[in-house]
């Protein structure tokens, strides 16, 4: 049955060496799979044409003196000089960072907490999930107004509590330039943490139930189980949520417009609003695109090392 084979294992390599002369065995490391290429073609087109195209176009316009409509002259870095002399833009960048850190952290913590608690086989899971998620469904144009009312010292909570007898109660986050940003964070968290919850819940539902058993026998407290075992395990979901939140931070616009219009003063201005205002309201496409370019570069500066480490260099899935 196995006549081809000699008993001496020493002979095998010799024989095979002859069969595959050096060099011919070396091949492309990966197989080309037409269906994969076919499946990824739409993405390639979109990336190439839309995303890269629009980014290049944006950068190009930022070196022009375009006002309401694009023109294609060249003014060098004038727009950037102007941009970085602009107090509002600098405040916007700073706000984005502060808001981003607080908002992402709060959403992740609250979302994770809610996901974990909902995962404890609670009653009315579906109802609670929907309650936590519903803010995401409503347009911020009006829910922002509800928040604004609620936070307004003359209309909302402060007045209600004072009328109830606590005269010294003070809750006027929106009215104070120092705290208005926190009010935005609050409303942002209200809107987005439900989404984080469902994303993480999707991750939690994929965790091997035996792990929970092992942890319970090991005497690992539930919080520790979730923190040390589940959290790393749903890492990809957390990354997903963080990226989504980060996108929301960078694009943050509706929330600000609905609640503070950037005020009081310029206390809650954000870069996206700066871009929007200059692109449309103030008819200064050049400056607007310069601001957008700065946003893009900032994002890339933060993102590139991470993207590279994660997706760029290796062929396969992250370990």
């Amino acid at each position: 049955m196995h006549t081809m084979l000699t008993k001496e294992r020493e002979r095998l390599p010799v024989r095979v060496d002859v069969a595959t002369p050096a060099g011919s065995a070396r091949r492309a490391r990966r197989r080309i799979r037409p269906s994969t290429l076919f499946a990824l073609a739409p993405m390639a087109v979109v990336v190439g044409v839309v995303y890269l195209g629009a980014m290049a176009w944006t950068v190009r316009l930022s070196t022009t003196s375009s006002k309401l409509l694009p023109t294609y002259d060249f003014v060098g870095l004038d727009q950037y000089e102007r941009l970085f002399a602009n107090a509002r833009f600098l405040v916007s960048l700073q706000n984005m960072v502060v808001f981003g850190v607080l908002f992402i952290a709060a959403c992740l913590v609250l979302g994770f907490l809610l996901a974990v608690l909902i995962d404890q086989r609670v009653k009315a899971e579906g109802l609670l999930r929907t309650i936590y998620l519903y803010p995401h469904a409503l347009s911020f144009i009006v829910t922002g107004l509800a928040w604004q009312w609620f936070l307004n010292p003359e209309l909302g909570l402060q007045r209600a509590v004072r009328e109830a007898g606590f005269e010294s109660f003070a809750f006027a986050w929106l009215a104070d330039g120092e705290t208005a940003l926190y009010a935005l964070v609050l409303a942002g968290v209200w809107q987005s943490s439900g989404l984080v919850m469902v994303i993480l819940l999707a991750g939690l539902r994929g965790v091997d139930p035996d792990l929970w058993k092992a942890a319970r026998v090991d005497g690992i407290p539930a919080w520790r189980y979730y923190l040390s075992i589940v959290l790393p395990l749903i890492g990809p979901m957390i990354v997903t949520a963080t990226v989504l939140l980060a996108i929301a931070v960078v694009k943050l616009y509706d929330l600000v417009v609905a609640m503070t219009k950037g005020g009081p003063g310029i206390a809650t201005e954000v870069p996206a609003k700066f871009v929007m205002d200059h692109l449309f309201e103030r008819a200064n496409v050049g400056l607007g695109t310069a601001a957008a370019t700065v946003m893009l570069v900032t994002v890339l500066a933060v993102l590139t090392p991470w993207l590279y480490a994660r997706y760029g260099s290796t062929s396969g899935r992250p370990a």
């Binding site: 409509l69 330039g177 309201e281 008819a283």
Partner: protein, 387 residues
């Protein structure tokens, strides 16, 4: 002829006013295709995108001012010089408006209304209760504040959005500083105007106003702010004449429950308004529809009817305003004296400058620790960069 019109008049009162144009246009044999998009920015963005995308509407709304200048320069608009010359528009409308609707000497837009931007609305009952007379000057306003506050009311209701703050500042500038200073600053872009005594005084008054508004101001819309006056929680608000709509909706009449005043010795009225422009087209039928629209909108009957509902003043000086409310009549009266007319900033300054100045005003207004000097310095910077 079918005419598609993009505009941002979506609220009940606004569309009722618009209806006056529509019915007249349709009576003249046209078909009005309405594209209403709330929010000036949204509507303009959509309109410009459609022009760029080769799917232009027949007409689209702009604010009176220099917003569409560039579109015209790009050859994307049809002029309506023929209609305007035929109708003798240049003689009928305020001079600042003529400039604002012209590009390269030709008229490109049809102005439809004049909005007074600096009306002081006050609640008569509240003022009476506090024992103060309706203010005549900005110093009056500041002086009345103490008494009103003592009566447990908000002296001065102010909304917390940059444009509202700008409106207030410009009202102080025109009222306290005078039309001349206003003109030097915005139309002539004269940075030296910042060094004048008058401007210092304006900055000072505006700064002092910060102290008499309520805590709930930041972020508040103008409607809610007006409601404070309507319901008697606040004594005064400075707003454009569109605020009359809120009083009207609450069943109040000018001169009775509330009053309106132009604060400042010189009674300057800041005027702005809306125009319609006509995107370029080769289609003869569209071209005809555009001219017909221009004609209809500018017609005296349409002007009266439209502005009556809209709460604004007709652009034509040759129409009878006796049927309009007290505030409007007062406005029309002021309008008859060109010296008292002050064009809204958008008519004279670039959007860019307006925006840059907005940023400075809102910072000053909202930062109690910022003094007038700092304000002037920032103002200068803004003018130097954006002007």
């Amino acid at each position: 002829q079918e005419a598609e019109v993009i505009h941002w008049w979506t609220s009940g009162g606004e569309s009722a006013a618009l209806q006056e144009f529509v019915s007249r246009f349709e009576a003249a044999g046209g078909t009005w295709v309405d594209t209403a998009i709330a929010g000036g920015t949204n509507a303009r963005t959509a309109g410009i995108n459609r022009i760029v995308g080769g799917d232009a509407p027949t007409a689209m709304q702009f604010n009176t001012g220099r917003q569409f200048e560039e579109v015209a320069a790009g050859g994307l608009l049809n002029d309506i010089e023929a209609v305007a010359s035929r109708g003798g528009w240049r003689d009928l409308i305020p001079a600042s408006f003529v400039d604002a609707i012209s590009y390269d000497g030709e008229i490109y837009a049809v102005p439809v209304n004049i909005h007074g931007q600096n009306w002081m609305f006050y609640n008569n009952a509240v003022l009476e209760e506090a024992g103060v007379a309706p203010p005549q000057t900005w110093e009056d306003v500041l002086a009345a504040a103490e008494k009103i506050e003592a009566a447990g009311k908000i002296p001065f209701a102010q909304g917390g959005e940059p444009w509202q703050e700008r409106t207030l500042f410009n009202a102080v500038l025109a009222g306290h500083g005078g039309p001349e200073l206003y003109d030097r600053l915005y139309a002539q872009n004269d940075v030296a105007a910042l060094d004048t005594e008058e401007f210092r005084a304006v900055a000072d008054v505006f700064g002092r106003l910060r102290a008499i508004v309520d805590e709930g101001s930041p972020g508040r819309s103008w409607n809610e702010t007006t409601n404070l006056v309507v319901t008697g929680r606040a004594a005064m608000q400075l707003m454009g004449d569109w605020a009359k709509g809120e009083f009207l909706a609450a069943g109040q009449t000018p001169g009775e429950e509330y009053g309106c005043a132009l604060v400042g010795a010189n009674e300057a009225l800041i005027i702005g308004g809306d125009v319609f422009v006509f995107p370029a087209t080769d289609d003869e039928a569209q071209r005809a529809a555009q001219e017909m629209l221009a004609e209809v909108m500018f017609s005296p009957e349409a002007q009266i009817a439209f502005n009556n509902v809209k709460g604004s003043i007709p652009v034509r000086s040759d129409v009878d305003v006796s049927g309009m409310d007290a505030c409007a009549q007062r406005g029309a009266e002021v309008m008859s004296d060109p010296a008292k007319q002050v064009p809204q900033v958008n008519l004279v300054a670039s959007s860019d400058l307006v925006g840059a100045v907005d940023d400075v005003i809102t910072q000053y207004w909202n930062d109690p620790s910022m003094d007038a000097d700092a304000f002037v310095a920032r103002f200068r910077e803004a003018m130097e960069i954006a002007g």
